[in-house]
Symmetry: C2
C-alpha cells in the first residue's frame, strides 16, 4: 500500500522535506515547472501565471542575461503569494570547499533564497558536506542526482546505489533525488523527475522525454518537472493545468 | 622517448591547444594558479603578481562576491600583459541545451572571455555538443574531467575510459583532461592536475593532495594546478616561483 504525501511528511527528518510533502498535499499539485528562460521579466511572468499550478519552480539563475539582486526579491514574493518552493538547478559538482563558496557566496548567494538545490555525487561525499555547512542551518534541502534523462549518460546502477548510500549518511540535509525511477522504499525521500512531456520525444542535444504516467505510475516519481512541454506551448497556463491534472490524477491512481 | 611541449603543439587539431603548448614552451612554465578568492581586487592582484609565473589562471567566477563585468576587462588585460590563459573551472554538468546557455549567456558570459572551460561527461556527450555549439567558433577549448582528487569520488576507470572516448569524438573542441594520471599516449591531449601541494595532505572537506613530482613524473601530468599551496603562503609570489621551478625541472627530467 503506497503512502500519501501527507503520510510521508511524518517520516522526514529534514523540515523542508516535510513542508514540501504537506504543500503538495494541501495544494494538490505534484507538478514542478522548469522555467528555463533567459530574461528576468519573462521568468517572473511565468512564476506569476503558472505559480498557482505548481509546488516547485525550478530555476537556472545563471542563464538570466539581465539578472539583478532585486529579481530575487520579486521571485520570493511570488513564491510566497502562490505557495511554491524555489529549486535552483545548480548541479553542484566540485570539491566540498568550492561548492560551499558557490552555494553561499558570489553574486547569486543561492543559499539565501533557493529552498532546494541539487548536486552530483561524482566528487564524493565532500560535496554534500560542503553544501550542508552552508545550507543546513538555513533549513534548506538538497537533492542528489541519482539518474539523468540525457542520452548516453554515465550514471550506472552502481553510481545510483552509491548516491543512495551517501544520501543516507546525510539524511538531515538531503531530501531526495533527481531520478528517473525510485531507488528505495524509504518514505522520506522525494523523487523529482525531469525530462517529462506528454509525448515521448527527444531534443537535438541528447535530452530524452518520458510521459507523466510513466514517470509516476511505472517509475514511482513524486514530482514531475516539466519545462519546454509547458513554456513552449501556445498557452502555457492551460498547458500547465493539463499537466497538473494528469500528474495529480496519476498520483491518486498510484495510491489504489 | 617523451615529446616536448613544442613537439606536441604540432599534433593539435584545436588551435587553442596548440597555442597553449607553445606558450608553455616559450614562457617555460607548466604551472597553473587556482585563484580561489572571493574578492575581485584580490584576484586581480594575484593575477598581476603571479601572472608572470604561470601559463594558466584558473578561476571560479561564481564565488566572487563583488563581481562586475568590468572585472573581466581588467582580467583580460592582465592575461594579455603576462601571457597566460584564463580557465574558468565551471565543471558544466547538465544536459546540452542547458550548458549551452550557461556557457554563452547569463551575466557571466563565460564563452566571451574564458579561453578554457571544463565539463563532467556524466550527462553524456550532449554536454560536449552543447558547449561546442557555443565555444568552437570562438576558438575556445574544453577540458573533460576524467578523474578527481577528492576522497571517495565516483569516477571509476570505466568512467575515465568513456570520457576518453567522448573526447576523441569531439577532438576539435576538447583539448584534454582534468586528471590525476595520463589516460593515453596521444600527444595532443593536455593533462591538467589539481590538488597539488609540496607535501601530500588533505583538507577537512575531502580534498587530497599529491606532490608536483608525483603528478608530472609518475602520473604524466602536463600542467599542475596549485591553489591553497600558493595563495595561503606567507609570500605567494616566491611560493609560486618555487612551484614553477620544481614543476619545470621535473618536466625537463621527464624528457630524459
Amino acid at each position: 500500500m503506497k503512502l500519501s504525501y501527507a503520510d510521508r511528511a511524518k517520516h522526514c527528518k529534514n523540515p523542508l522535506a516535510k513542508h514540501l510533502f504537506q504543500l503538495i498535499e494541501n495544494k494538490k499539485t505534484n507538478l514542478a515547472l522548469s522555467a528555463d528562460v533567459t530574461n528576468c521579466d519573462k521568468l517572473l511572468s511565468l512564476a506569476n501565471t503558472i505559480g498557482p499550478e505548481i509546488s516547485v519552480l525550478k530555476t537556472h539563475i545563471d542563464i538570466l542575461d539581465d539578472f539583478t539582486p532585486s529579481f530575487i526579491n520579486e521571485l520570493q514574493k511570488l513564491a510566497e503569494k502562490h505557495q511554491f518552493l524555489i529549486f535552483e538547478d545548480r548541479k553542484f559538482a566540485d570539491i566540498g570547499n568550492t561548492v560551499k563558496h558557490q552555494y553561499a557566496g558570489g553574486i547569486y548567494q543561492i543559499a539565501e533564497w533557493a529552498h532546494i538545490v541539487n548536486a552530483h555525487t561524482l566528487p564524493g561525499s565532500g560535496v554534500i558536506q560542503g553544501l550542508a555547512e552552508a545550507g543546513k542551518d538555513k533549513q534548506r534541502g538538497l537533492l542528489l542526482l541519482a539518474q539523468m534523462s540525457s542520452a548516453n549518460n554515465l550514471l550506472t546502477p552502481d553510481y545510483s546505489k552509491k548516491t543512495l548510500e551517501m544520501a543516507r549518511e546525510f539524511d538531515e540535509f538531503v531530501i531526495g533525488f533527481i531520478a528517473q525511477t525510485k531507488l528505495s522504499d524509504e518514505p522520506h525521500w522525494i523523487y523529482m523527475t525531469p525530462g517529462v512531456q506528454l509525448s515521448e520525444n527527444k531534443d537535438n542535444l541528447g535530452q530524452q522525454y518520458i510521459t507523466p504516467q510513466k514517470a509516476i505510475l511505472e517509475n514511482g516519481s513524486d514530482i514531475i518537472i516539466v519545462g519546454r512541454g509547458i513554456i513552449a506551448a501556445k498557452d502555457p497556463v492551460s498547458e500547465a493545468q493539463k499537466y497538473r491534472k494528469i500528474a495529480w490524477d496519476t498520483y491518486l491512481q498510484s495510491l489504489t
